[in-house]
């Protein structure tokens, strides 16, 4: 078979695995959250049932073209992040379309879905959507600052912008992981990760009991199904990105599953413990310690 078609099929299979793992992860996390508060929690297959139902609903209303495109852009953000991310180190099948400068592209894709969602939710016209969007963009801008500083620090440290090479440089053993060789960048990035996953204390964007659900207030049925699919992909892909950058990458799927789960669980763990920040508090928070750590990480490697 043609090289490009084979590659495409393998990537599609990877996307399928990642989507399902993301949904299983989200239901597992919700079950853990339920156990923390003494409940049994949702069945493990609940995300698939929800998704089936959402895709079968009759769509009710249109608010214009951008309203349709918002979830599509959001989904593209998650899929794009996945496409250019090498999932398994050293494997041709699971390295997707990673290339020598993929780190910069992935930083861009992190924001891409957010911007698409902002346009779509704005067209929805619900006031709470607009509030959620403005909060989300304000918070995301500040999340990007420590994140970008950490990435620049790593790029200086390893003299490369290719994620595959960064992973390759960490293969010497447990103590060659970036978390030991560059702890400040790891600290900055892991703190900004809390905001990127949108769990409490940084979940004011969707704040279910203040502004009903934020940007997706008007989204229903298929649109909401898109957003949920994207969440599953995005969470795994972002966790995999952090795994590649800071925790030595993965050489097989089991390692990837364990590591992404632990990285995702870090944000859930913090969310279970801390209450929600107001938007100006979270903006200030990201610009203090995480940014300071990021600057420190760059200064050390200059």
């Amino acid at each position: 078979m043609d090289y490009s078609i084979t590659k495409f099929l393998w990537t599609l299979l990877g996307l399928f695995i990642v989507t399902n793992w993301g949904m299983l992860m989200s239901s597992t996390i919700r079950r853990i959250g339920a156990r923390v508060s003494g409940r049994i929690g949702i069945p493990w297959y609940q995300p698939w049932v929800d998704l089936t139902k959402l895709y079968s609903l009759k769509s009710q209303v249109s608010h214009g073209t951008m309203f349709y495109l918002g979830p599509v852009f959001r989904l593209m953000g998650g899929v794009g992040l996945f496409l250019f991310l090498p999932m398994i180190f050293g494997s041709w099948h699971w390295s997707n379309y990673s290339f020598s400068g993929d780190l910069v592209l992935i930083l861009y894709f992190q924001l891409f879905g957010m911007l698409g969602m902002a346009l779509g939710a704005g067209e929805g016209g619900h006031p709470y959507s607009t509030i959620g969007v403005s909060r989300g963009l304000a918070q995301f801008t500040t999340i990007e600052v420590p994140m970008t500083l950490a990435v620049i620090s790593i790029a200086i440290q390893y003299h490369t912008l290719s994620i595959s090479q960064i992973v390759a440089a960490q293969q010497g053993g447990f103590f060659t992981w970036t978390v030991w060789t560059n702890p400040f960048a790891t600290g900055a990035a892991m703190l900004s990760l809390l905001g990127a996953f949108g769990h409490s204390p940084f979940n004011l964007i969707q704040a279910p009991n203040e502004i009903p659900i934020g940007p997706p207030t008007e989204y229903h049925g298929v649109f909401l199904g898109f957003l949920r699919t994207n969440n599953a992909i995005l969470h795994v892909a972002e966790a995999a990105l952090f795994m590649n950058l800071f925790f030595g990458g993965a050489t097989n799927w089991i390692e990837l599953i364990v590591k992404t789960f632990l990285i995702y669980f870090w944000s859930v763990f913090v969310g279970m413990v801390f209450p929600r920040f107001r938007i100006e508090q979270s903006v200030r928070w990201f610009l203090k310690i995480p940014t300071l750590l990021g600057i420190l990480a760059i200064v050390i490697f200059l």
Binding site: A34, P43, D50, K53, N209
Partner: protein, 230 residues
Amino acid sequence: MEKENKPQDIPVVKTKNFIAPENEKRTVTAPDGSLIEVDPINDYFCQERPEEYKVKSGAVEKFLNWARAESLWVLGFGTGCGSIEIPPLVTPRFDMYRYGVQMRPTPRQSNVFIISGYLSVKTLKRAIRSYEQMPSPKYVIGLGSCTINGGMYWDSYNTINRLDHYLPVDVYIAGCMPRPEALLAGFAKLKELIKAGKAEKANEYIRNLDWYKANQKKIIKDWNMPDYNW
């Protein structure tokens, strides 16, 4: 310290007008200076009649019905004293999440509307708007005897007596007030109905839309919204 109380400006006495001020027909000036006629009720709201959703046949419909039954998303809209019976459902004692029942904050994302107790005319108007904004297939649970025959408010000037004259009800839960266990039993009954394919009241509502609308308009005197709220 004495706070100075200044009399407020004498308000303009408004005539009884059932169209909200922001929805009134008016002329606005565009940024380039041209005048534009604006009629928000007709411009911003869809006046189309709704259509029934297609019921697929065979195994597909069975599978979809199973998915719909296992994923009931409840609209967080409490209308009467029964709304105090819903919060315990998310506590460890009752825990409705294990049955696939979840709360959603907006009508666009929910399937199940619990009318929890007495429904005054003012709330009925909001309930109709919320119900019509939910995507089909959708289900209504009438909680408490107030929704069945008016309950203890049966002779009140402002609460409805029979919910099924205004919204299509799938499951009634009797009692005043029913305990959260009764609500869980109601969810179980609703699931049973959905899985058997009998919970298609949303289509019935659209088929008999004229009758429902006549009943609704009989008591909602200030009808200032489109006939069907998309």
